[in-house]
């Protein structure tokens, strides 16, 4: 139905030829915008209701004094449903560590939470189908578990800023809310999120439309296709400084895939955009010494590169 609407606007109303670059790009733009915003609004709302049941305070309590492996697994899974914004990474980190959540388990949470977020999922689902979205979630969780275990094993507690260990945090009781308030939270959450990301989505879809209509296929296949062994590496390196604007990134990437970019490279790129970023490093500098930040970024980056190559082989 959306397809028909997009066709109607571009080909009937504006009388553009389906074979023209402009018609093709515009049709793509209208169809994708409608689809993405419909998906975003409904799914973000549903996810926000779930999130209302998992405030960070509750997650912290669940993870407190958990052993490794089981703790890492639970942390990575809770990371999906606990609302998290990198602007709160510091108080959250201190709160977790202070409550006796092991360092490696805390990292499993810090890796999974921004990476496996509902926006990335919706965009991947909407543009690549549910299989790719599921693969992304699965590998994201595994990557968070494994990276957290490795960081835990490295015994890097002394590379956390010293003052963190001295803080005695208050208990931080949970603000209890009833179902009606949870629905209101979900509504506000959705509105706030859409308000924040809509320009990126529009720009992303517009760029995607341009790629779709104008960039030649051989060009993309040559540089981002399966045959270029460096594509994954370069995609991850480009992804690290980009700040988690998954919403704006994915439409561009989808257009590139249509032109021959390999799927493993896409997944690796998405993960590096969402999981690690320079602004996050600057924020984490408040609680971690440089050595631990490098280690954290290094482990996650290597993990993502492995994921990329793996999926380029099997997908």
């Amino acid at each position: 139905m959306l397809k028909k609407f997009a066709d109607y606007i571009t080909y009937t109303l504006l009388q553009l030829a389906p074979t023209s670059h402009l018609g093709d790009a515009l049709n793509f733009f209208i169809y994708d915008s409608l689809k993405i915003f419909l998906l975003l609004t409904t799914i973000v709302y549903v996810v926000a209701i779930i999130r209302a049941y998992f405030p960070p305070e509750k997650t912290k309590r669940i993870l407190s004094h958990k052993r490794e492996y089981i703790g890492n697994t639970m942390a990575a899974l809770l990371g999906i449903v606990t609302p998290f914004c990198s602007c709160s990474a510091v108080p959250l980190f201190i709160g977790f560590v202070e409550a006796g959540v092991p360092l490696g388990v805390t990292f499993s949470f810090l890796i999974s939470s921004p990476m496996v977020n509902e926006i990335a999922l919706i965009m991947l689902w909407g543009l690549f189908g549910w299989k790719i979205a599921l693969i992304y979630t699965g590998t994201g969780v595994v990557l968070a578990i494994v990276s957290g275990i490795v960081i835990g094993k490295l015994k890097m507690e002394k590379h956390v800023q010293d003052y963190v260990w001295q803080i005695k945090a208050g208990t931080g009781e949970i603000v209890e809310t009833n179902f009606r308030e949870k629905l209101m939270y979900a509504r506000d959450y959705t509105a706030e999120l859409l308000k924040r990301i809509w320009p990126y989505v529009i720009i992303g879809i517009a760029l995607g439309g341009i790629v779709h209509g104008y960039i030649p296929t051989d060009f993309v296949v040559k540089y981002a296709g399966r045959e270029n062994p460096f594509a994954v590496l370069v995609a991850v390196l480009i992804g690290i400084p980009l700040y988690s604007n998954a919403a704006g990134m994915i439409p561009v990437v989808q257009a590139l895939v249509g032109k021959g970019m390999a799927m493993g490279t896409v997944l690796a790129f998405m993960m590096s955009v969402t999981a690690i970023s320079f602004p996050e490093a600057v924020i984490l500098k408040n609680v971690l010494k440089m050595r631990l930040i490098y280690t954290f970024f290094g482990i996650v980056a290597v993990g993502i590169i492995i994921v990329g190559y793996l999926f380029n082989v099997i997908l």
């Binding site: 305070e57 912290k60 510091v90 803080i167 945090a169």
Partner: protein, 80 residues
């Protein structure tokens, strides 16, 4: 009454402080509003996601999205 707004200085934290100030003024209660921006101090109060609102030592709100002005007034009135 003692009100604390906790946040490192992000846009939402500034808005939270304004909300608290307006709420206090409109309610006409006698309250001291303190802004806490130090990350360590924020964590020490048990706030995990910013901005946080603490009234008389009790956490009333933490994280995004921000509560409405009506909600903030309610939260403050509950402690008055």
């Amino acid at each position: 009454m003692e009100i604390k707004v906790l946040g490192p200085g992000c846009a939402n934290c500034v808005k939270m402080e304004e909300l608290a100030k307006t709420a206090v003024k409109e309610l006409g209660v006698n309250a001291k509003i303190e802004k806490i921006t130090d990350i360590g101090q924020i964590a020490m109060h048990g706030i995990l996601s910013t901005p946080g609102l603490i009234v008389n030592g009790k956490i009333k709100h933490s994280g995004k999205p921000l509560p409405s002005l009506e909600k903030v007034k309610e939260l403050i009135k509950g402690e008055a």
